[in-house]
Amino acid sequence: MHIVVCAKQVPDTAEVRVDPETNTLIREGVPSIMNPYDAHAVEEAMRLKDKYGGKVTVISMGPPQAEEVLRQAISFGVDDAILLSDRAFGGSDTLATSYILTNGIKKLDEQEKVDLIICGKQAIDGDTAQVGPGIAVRLNIPQLTYVMEIVELNLEEKTIKVARKLEGQKEIVQAPLPALLTVVKDINELRYASLPNKIRAARFKAMVWNKDDFPGIDPEQIGLKGSPTAVRKIFPPPERGEGEIIPGGMENPEQATATLVEKLVKQEIIADK
């Protein structure tokens, strides 16, 4: 069995701050990490490998420094990792990105048939959740999104049964392989890198595929040209109108609270039932 995991390097959005003077993002010093959902995708692939054997390949599109996330994947024990990197890929939106990754996966498939593709449910920098389904559509295979559990993998019949996390309930669905899954964090707990894998990761140099490695790639579908969406404007989040601070909260909390409650009831914000 050959499992491919798509992983992305992202800025740690928890560390991103906005310069209040200029309203621009302060990116300096913001660490780059493996997209947290993708880490769970790698983990799930490794669990399947532990159980059923086979091979796990991680693929990432990004600038040369994105090799770091591949190294991290190696430290989790994956067999191989490929970086798709080319200036011509820069500026790709989700449509172009799914096209490029699909080309990469097809190339892997030629080398060794791919049975399962696992992605994180979304990347925390863009939060779009569009790339995984985009790949599934392009490969014309089933997409199973928001997977919280792999219920059954049947290698004889080549089917997979999963639980999808929906609002307030879970859905059990079955699909033939090859299929593409996107996973939520609930699916597993991440493992720690073992020492031998850490050593392997430290020495690891990822294979880099660029545009020229894909003779059939359509230049109209990659990079800025292949991206229908464009950012028109960046602006600070909207502010709400001036609020009213009820005075005396520190000195006389009972009085301040009484004033507040009276306002809420009088203005029928809280209705008297």
Partner: protein, 416 residues
């Protein structure tokens, strides 16, 4: 030695950018910009500009025959492209239903869609897919749609990506809408991604504001980016339909007009069960997880300031008196004081109650994005600098352990 751009005349349509054979033009802040090192003064952009915003600053340099041909080809494609775009008309809203029950975000989107159609002077339609769902069409009209595109089939009984996506792709190819909107729900996000990829068009996820740019008629799709730290407006210039998913409970509900009439356009799915590889086996309701925060009209939410699990009881008492539901910040959830199903915010639930009480919550951006469209926000915090006060309608700067018991007492008194 480069083309000159009149910032006044430029409407940022991007045709020149698309046309330039030398990649010398870009759009910055919605206005064309030229890179003089790349510009060869070929004039291709001047040809396509619809507002004559571009002019050559010196006589055209001699072009080779090849270059001329190339420029001519580019110009033609650009023209065809802009003509092609004007063929797309109408704003469509995907009506998300589960066993006949419609997700409220669909109605909110009909409200938002109506504002767009008013600016575009076009029609508003609902896309209704399912098995035996025709009766819902009436509701769709009552919430403001002029048309309903209806596809019914047993294959569509439960949501599955492939048949739903194919149905919408076929409708879209046939009737050519300008805009398709869906809720940013699990279903909407799953479906919209597949549809957009099949149609080869742009899709913006999780929008919180929609508008139409007057000069270009582009859909302006605004959404929080980088964990809510900043907002970005996205446009899809050259492909149609323009597609967006929109967060639930951000747009206002439209006025319900009983007895409004509309046109139903029925289409066949053209798929049978054998054509669909994915099978739905079962649905399992999550036990005890149904807090329905998203439907609550009053939410009493607590944060790290509460200090312990014990102290959440105080909030429960207050919530009981008000008929409210308990919410929480992630800090409170991570401390183990309350279940994750109560978490409000970026990685929790987006809520829009009539009243939101934020008790001992600082108001981190990730929390604010989940509750700042609440009608009224009441904040209790002892730190006058807490960002929650920036979004509060009413605030008390004080110790919650004094204020909350006083609230309980006062509300009891006032509400009997």
């Amino acid at each position: 030695m480069a083309v000159e751009i009149s910032k006044k005349k430029c409407i940022g349509c991007g045709l020149c950018v698309q046309t330039c054979p030398f990649d010398a033009l870009t759009l910055e802040n919605g206005v064309a910009q030229v890179d003089p090192d790349k510009c060869t003064n070929c004039g291709a952009c001047v040809e396509v500009c619809p507002t004559e915003a571009l002019a050559l600053d010196e006589p055209q340099k001699k072009m080779s025959k090849e270059e001329k041909e190339q420029v001519k080809g580019m110009t033609e494609t650009a023209r065809e492209m802009s003509e092609e775009l004007t063929k797309y008309k109408g704003v469509w809203v995907f009506i998300e239903q589960l066993e006949g029950e419609v997700a409220p975000v669909s109605w909110e989107l009909l409200g938002a869609g109506r504002k767009l159609t008013d600016k575009l002077d076009t029609y508003l339609a609902g896309i209704l897919l399912g098995d035996g769902v025709e009766h819902i069409a009436r509701e769709v009209f009552n919430y403001g749609a002029d048309k309903v595109y209806l596809v019914e089939s047993p294959v569509l009984q439960h949501y599955r990506t492939q048949p739903y996506a194919e149905a919408i792709v076929n409708l879209s190819k046939k009737y050519m809408p300008e805009i398709i909107l869906m809720g940013a729900t699990t279903m909407g996000r799953d479906l919209s991604s597949a549809v957009a990829t099949k149609l080869g068009t742009g899709l913006t996820a999780d929008c919180t504001e929609l508008d139409i740019e007057e000069e270009s008629s582009y859909l302006l799709q605004s959404r929080p980016a980088f964990g809510g730290n900043i907002m970005a407006t996205i446009v899809c210039r050259h492909r149609r339909p323009q597609m967006a998913t929109v967060r639930p409970r951000v747009m206002d509900m439209p006025v319900y007009q009983e007895g409004r009439q509309g046109e139903i356009i029925r289409e066949e799915l053209g798929l049978s069960e054998e054509d669909v590889a994915v099978k739905v086996i079962d649905f399992i309701k999550e036990k005890g997880k149904a807090v329905y925060l998203d439907k609550a009209e009053i939410i009493v939410a607590g944060g790290r300031g509460l200090g312990s699990k014990e102290n959440f009881k105080m909030l429960e008492e207050l919530a009981n008196i008000l008929g409210g539901t308990i919410g929480a910040s992630r800090a409170a959830v991570e401390a183990g004081w309350i279940g994750a199903e109560h978490q409000v915010g970026q990685t929790g639930i987006t809520v829009r109650p009539k009243v939101y009480f934020a008790i001992g919550i600082s108001g981190a951006i990730q929390h604010l994005v989940g509750m700042q469209t609440s009608d009224v926000i009441v904040a209790v915090n002892n730190d006058p600098e807490a960002p929650i006060f920036n979004v509060a309608t009413f605030g008390i700067q004080g110790d919650l352990f004094k204020v909350v018991p006083a609230m309980i007492k006062e509300f009891r008194k006032q509400l009997g």
